[in-house]
Amino acid sequence: MLSIKNLRASVEGKEILKGINLEIKAGEVHAIMGPNGSGKSTLANVLAGREDYEILSGEVTYMGQDLLELSPEDRSRSGLFLSFQYPVEIPGVPMVNFIKTAVNEHRKFKGLEPLTAGEFLKLMRAKKDMLHLDTELTNRSVNEGFSGGEKKKNEIFQMAMLEPKLAILDETDSGLDIDALRIVAEGVNALKTPENATIVVTHYQRLLDYIVPDFVHVLYKGRIVKSGGKELALELEEKGYDWIKNGEN
């Protein structure tokens, strides 16, 4: 589904990603862990098409296409979803308008008719129920005045509405209380099918108790320095990153 080969990227002349290699197949869950500033969000943003980053070399193939050639909107419409580490507040853009426009743009891309008002409301209600999302939140502007946890829940709500093929969850667990974490994780699991895949960026084992990864990768200074199964996350929880850093030096 996704194949990253020797990806290098810089921002403001500073090289952040220094040769990433990663293969993700349909049905898999990959966890990416690593110390602060190692480049996890940079990787997520580069995959989503953020233009602030300069691609120095490498290639990314997503469902048979050259991902780096696509605009951010076409990546999204092709089923790539990024749950932002820091979702932005957009005062004056009502949640409902925003999500309706997004859903219908996705449908147009697939050659489908836009949803009627009734169909849209029904879909929205179902997804809100699934995530126990407060109705009041969808009546506001996008993320405006949302608490940290509400913003993260709202990201997963958008994911549920758009039903992506490849979801990248950048620290979706941070800021969530214990109940919200469970609800969000259940939501993510409910959306899982053998056809789609998930990348979970996290610092904590706790989320991985719910969303069980098939692979765990450690990103350090812009490179994946270690990969393993789900037990690697447990090991990191116990020992921290020093043993890997030292091993790499």
Partner: protein
């Protein structure tokens, strides 16, 4: 053009035009209007046309526009308006008392009296000045004469007609009055229009002014509106400007508020050539409230300058100003807001904000908020920002599958939304959002390309 006429300055040409047409100007016009002409023309001639050396006109140069030659319609021409054509022009269709003015003249086909509550007058200023001078003599030119703006003097010298709205004591006009000012000519045309709104104590009126051009000629539109809001009255005056790129519009609005009156204004410049909006509000009674809003959307070489002056002369009054400009291409904008709090105007609340978004490298915005406070117990604030579109928000929307153009439009609408939601006429809010969206996607500009 002959060689001699090239040597004449635009101001001199206007003076000689005045001298030649003195007879026509006075013809059919009430002494109330005529008696102010000579002295006003003298004031204009003395002041001349302001240029960048004039502090108040530093950012708006009208000399190029005034150097063109214009025809004037000094006598009413009896054309017929094709309403189908008019309403193709993105005029908000609302449930209103509707009247038209064509090239500054109150249209003969108007039937405003039907449906208006008893006692309310909505008519031609010329007509009322001739037939019921008592209604206007205490108001006409009482505020404008105090101004030292040369274009106000020029207006007084040439004005023959405009609209007059009178709402008597205690009468509430539920539906808004909609004034549609049409400019239509095959030749370059200078239009002078004089309006007057009088709301007696506890009267209520909502006025929506729509300024439109129907042809692609160059227009020089000089309009003066005086508003008197007596005690406990509630008056809304909103203006939507949608004119061609060759139009130069100078609008001066003077508002005098008495005790407990509430006044809401808004200037929505959707499309135009060069616009200067002067707004002066004088709070002449305590516990008065005023709100002044503005949204300007400019591109190509357009220019919009909002020049606002609010005088807090009495205690316990509140004023709020919120102006926003969205500038693209080579367009420019200016905002000057001056709040003056007099020595006795204790417990004044006066707030002012001007936020601007530059969509291109070449667009420019000049903003100058100014507070002059002579009282000590006041709450005042002012602030201005000039920024670019929020790239994080843009990326967020695109990353959800929304195309770049649509995402930009959404963000611009959101920027304007803060102003629109403060508009006091509810159905107008929705219309304004629609119009702004049409402006952003180019439909409004297309309307001027015939």
């Amino acid at each position: 053009m002959t060689i001699t006429s090239q040597k004449i300055s635009p101001a001199e040409r206007l003076v000689s035009l005045f001298e030649q047409s003195r007879g026509t100007l006075n013809e059919g016009s009430s002494p109330l209007l005529n008696r102010m002409r000579e002295v006003s023309m003298k004031r204009f001639a003395q002041a001349g046309i302001p240029d960048f050396k004039t502090e108040d006109y530093k950012y708006t140069n009208l000399n190029t526009a005034l150097a063109k030659s214009y025809k004037q319609e000094l006598v009413r021409e009896n054309g017929v308006i094709d309403l189908n054509v008019v309403f193709e022009r993105h005029i908000p269709q609302l449930d209103t008392h509707l009247v038209f003015l064509v090239n500054g003249w109150f249209y003969k086909g108007n039937k405003p009296e039907s449906g208006l509550p008893k006692g309310i007058v909505l008519d031609s200023l010329e007509q009322v000045a001739n037939q019921k001078p008592a209604l206007i003599q205490d108001f006409l030119n009482r505020q404008a004469a105090l101004s030292n703006d040369p274009f106000v003097a020029l207006n007084t010298a040439f004005a023959k007609d405009g609209f007059f709205l009178y709402v008597p004591k205690g009468v509430a006009l539920e539906k808004p009055v909609q004034i549609i000012n049409l400019l239509s000519s095959d030749e370059n045309l200078m239009v002078t229009q004089r309006n007057l709104i009088v709301a007696e104590s506890a009267a209520q009126a909502k006025v929506l002014v729509c300024d439109y051009t129907l042809t692609s000629s160059s227009f020089l539109y000089n309009s003066v509106t005086e508003v008197f809001a007596d005690e406990d009255s509630l008056v809304d005056v909103y203006t939507i400007q949608n004119q061609n790129n060759q139009t130069t519009a100078i609008n001066s609005t003077f508002i005098k508020q008495e005790r407990n009156s509430v006044l809401n204004t808004g200037a929505f410049s959707l499309h135009t050539g060069l616009v200067r909006n002067n707004l002066k509000i004088v709070m002449n009674g305590d516990h008065a409230e005023a709100s002044a809003l503005g949204i300007s959307l400019t591109d190509k070489k357009q220019h919009v300058d909002n020049f606002v002056l609010i005088n807090h002369d009495k205690p316990n009054c509140t004023s709020n100003q919120l102006f926003k400009n969205i500038l693209d291409d080579d367009s420019t904008g200016a905002f000057a807001g001056r709040i003056h709090v007099a020595r006795d105007a204790q417990q004044t609340n006066a707030f002012q904000r001007n936020n601007n978004v530059l969509l291109s490298d070449k667009s420019r915005m000049q903003t100058k908020p100014q507070l002059i406070i002579d009282a000590d117990d006041v709450k005042c604030s002012h602030g201005a920002t000039v920024g670019q579109i929020d790239e994080d928000a843009l990326f967020f929307l695109r990353a959800r599958g929304i195309g770049e153009k649509e995402a930009r439009t959404m963000l611009m609408n959101a920027f304007a939304h803060e102003v629109i939601q403060k508009v006091s006429i509810e159905p107008l809010r929705e219309r304004l959002s629609e119009l702004i969206e049409k402006r952003m996607n180019g439909e409004i500009a297309k309307g001027h390309e015939q």
